[in-house]
């Protein structure tokens, strides 16, 4: 990790309660965050530990200064969590509300099954990003890997870079926006027109994610993908699609 710049030095760090995982356990961290005695926390020396800030259900802010392991901010419900590093598998899995930001890259299954809230990955995300998402919004500054938005049920996935093969396989009602190249689409996923209401929600999501440039959001190159709804009912004639 590069040294923090003043701009990144959020307000949270000014008054934050510090928990150093060099001397405290993940259990102690999460126990404190589940019954918080302060509004802002800073976590030092995360060292890729798993389940950091998992199960938060109070509107606290948590800044994790380093890389996070699996399931960071899992099932988040209302907290604001920032990983100042990379995040491993399942960051913000099954998030209900609140926001999670990864300053670096994210591994597999980022935002998996999330029901709500906003997940921002400023770098790239690996395969299965947004798998089975159920209402979460995910904005990725870079690329996403293959089989992303698999069986995505609801919510929005915005990708500023490229998307790998199998995008949106067996997708339900989630909407996917990609600015870069898109590999082979998954079964029942099709490109759809980018209408004005979609441009509006795209601008809103990019702005919320802080990925607009200089206050203006460039929507150039974005395409929209969603379900053809041809696999919503079992028929023998779809056998080649499964």
């Amino acid at each position: 990790m590069a040294a923090l710049s003043p701009a990144e030095n959020t307000a949270a760090t000014v008054t934050a309660t510090t928990i150093d995982l060099a001397t405290s356990s993940v259990r102690e961290l999460n126990a404190e965050l589940h019954a918080p005695s302060a509004p802002h926390y800073e976590v030092l020396n995360p060292r890729g530990a798993h389940a950091l800030a998992a199960g938060l259900h109070h509107p606290v802010t948590v800044d994790i200064r380093g890389h996070a392991g699996y399931y960071c901010a899992g099932m988040n419900d209302g907290a604001t969590v920032t990983v100042h590093g990379n995040a491993s598998t399942g960051v913000a899995e099954n998030m209900m509300s609140g926001s999670v930001r990864v300053r670096g890259d994210a591994s597999q299954s980022a935002g998996a099954t999330g029901h709500g809230g906003l997940l921002v990955i400023e770098g790239s995300a690996s395969m299965r990003c947004g798998i089975s998402m159920k209402g979460i919004d995910i904005v990725v500054g870079g690329d996403i890997g293959p089989m992303s938005a698999f069986m995505a049920q609801a919510g929005r996935l915005v990708v500023c870079g490229d998307a790998g093969d199998g995008l949106g396989d067996s997708i339900y009602e989630a909407r996917v926006y990609v600015r870069g190249k898109v590999g082979a689409l998954g079964a029942d996923c099709v490109e759809k027109p980018l209408r004005e209401e979609h441009r509006a929600e795209l601008a809103e999501l990019l702005t919320a994610a802080g990925l607009g440039q200089g206050g203006s959001v460039d929507l150039g190159g974005f395409r929209r993908f969603g379900s053809a709804r041809q696999l919503y009912h079992f028929t023998a004639h779809n056998s080649a699609s499964y």
Binding site: G55, Y70, D77, T89, E93, N94, A112, G135, F150, H237
Partner: protein
């Protein structure tokens, strides 16, 4: 009525012929509920030896035979303390009506045992009426949320079920009502296809991390079960325990389903009888038999089945199909209604199509209203009491003051297949096929 000269083919019997004709007519495979209907080696193929000169029996109705069980005391702050070792297996709201789920909760609570959610989330009806509620964590994660997770008394990570090891959930459009669709975040009326693999972990090493996450989210309060469909049970149980399971649930191929392809139900998995000794061996080799508890399901119908499963090493059992029958499924009072939809009382297995005359496996408000949750709960409680008393009767006959004191030595087998699978001797011999003795 059949001319004795006419000879039915054993290979192409009437059911097989009808299946081919149905496939040719419709162009789709058969999807149905229930579990395996083929004849399988089962608990009926085992007998208890009972006590006489070499063993002392306990007096029926006078000497105690206890039935309580503690589940999940390895890591959880609050393990489950159940009064009886017969639990209600996972069945979803969606597959079942809200009234049926409530009835199961009422019945289970009345006799001090647990019930289980399913692939569709937790309803207020079942939470409200269930003293001990196990919350299933499935690949689909339909309705999964941390608030309900914290309300649960235990968490069951489902890798598979006996009716379809390796298959995901299925719920056809007829049952995706607005409420079911809302809980699952799906469009109403679609044929729901659930994933068969979890979306954010693969393999036992990942599962270990997932289990820690669930413990962290719930502050290490709740037992974590891992449920597998019986197939490579010895290895699956070892891996589940290595991943950190507090309780392992093994569901044999007779276990029920709300909707699965017939070919899957009848041709994948192993019988419950074959799975139990594999699971017990795995636990014993790890030094964790009776420390990581084993719950067995799949074809439990009577107190004899309960006692035999426990004698083979289970700590508890779970019932699903039998509980639905206790609620009124396949009852002859609905004979005319079954006939009207092309079935018959005693044969009905179309749980997938939502027209259940007994109002159990349906989301149709009029049909669902046929089941009174209070009366249904009473029937479930009655049935659970009978299962328990039957099991106690057999345990006392074997001289056991607690159901868990039953042991394989109390059993013999009637068939070579059952002897080999259950690893108990053929009756009247010392021969356990496959043991090398």
């Amino acid at each position: 009525m059949t001319d004795p000269v006419l000879r039915e083919s054993a290979t192409f019997d009437r059911a097989t012929i009808a299946g081919i004709q149905r496939a040719a007519r419709t162009g789709v495979y058969d999807i149905r509920g229930w579990g395996a209907k083929r004849r399988l080696p089962h608990f009926d193929d085992l007998l208890f030896l009972g006590a006489s000169m070499s063993r002392y029996p306990l007096e029926g109705y006078r000497e105690r035979c206890d039935t309580d069980v503690v589940l999940g005391d390895r890591n959880a702050r609050y393990p489950l303390h159940l009064d009886i070792p017969v639990t209600i297996a996972g069945m979803s709201f969606g597959a079942l009506s809200a009234q049926a789920k409530e009835a199961l909760g009422r019945g289970a609570s009345e006799v001090g045992t647990s019930t289980t959610t399913g692939d569709g989330g937790m309803t207020p009806e079942e939470r409200g009426q269930s003293k001990h509620l196990v919350y299933q964590y499935l690949p689909s994660r339909y309705g999964m949320n941390p608030t309900d997770l914290r309300k649960a008394d235990a968490i069951e990570i489902v890798l598979g079920q006996g009716a379809k090891p390796g298959g995901g959930g299925m719920l056809l459009g007829q049952k995706i009502s607005d409420r079911v669709a809302g809980m699952r975040t799906l469009p109403a009326g679609i044929d729901q296809r659930s994933a068969c693999r979890h979306p954010d972990w693969t393999g036992p090493d990942d599962l270990a991390i997932k289990i820690v996450e669930l413990r962290e989210i719930t502050d290490w309060e709740k037992p974590i079960y891992v449920k597998v469909g019986a197939s490579r049970t010895y290895y699956d149980v070892k891996l589940a325990v290595a991943a950190g399971a507090d309780v392992v649930v093994v569901d044999g191929m007779q276990g029920g389903t709300a909707a699965t392809q017939e070919v899957f139900i009848e041709h994948v998995g192993i019988p419950t009888l074959a799975a139990i000794p594999q699971a017990v061996q795995a636990l014993a080799e790890l030094g964790l038999h009776r420390k990581v508890q084993l719950i067995v399901s799949g074809g439990i119908r009577t107190g004899a089945d309960v006692a035999k499963a426990m004698a083979l090493g289970a700590d508890a059992v779970a019932i699903g199909t039998a509980a639905l029958i206790a609620l009124g499924d396949n009852h002859p009072r609905y004979a005319a209604d079954y006939e009207a939809i092309g079935s018959a009382a005693g044969f009905y297995d179309d749980f997938q199509d939502g027209r259940d005359p007994a109002g159990i496996t349906t989301q149709d408000p009029e049909l669902a209203a046929r089941l009174d949750p209070v009366e249904g709960g009473r029937r479930i409680a009655n049935y659970l009491r009978v299962l328990t008393m039957e099991a106690q009767t057999l345990a006392r006959a074997c001289g056991k003051a607690h159901l868990r004191h039953l042991e394989p030595e109390d059993l013999v087998a009637l068939t070579i297949e059952a002897a080999a699978m259950a690893r108990v001797p053929m009756a009247g011999t010392n021969w356990i096929p496959g043991s090398g003795l």
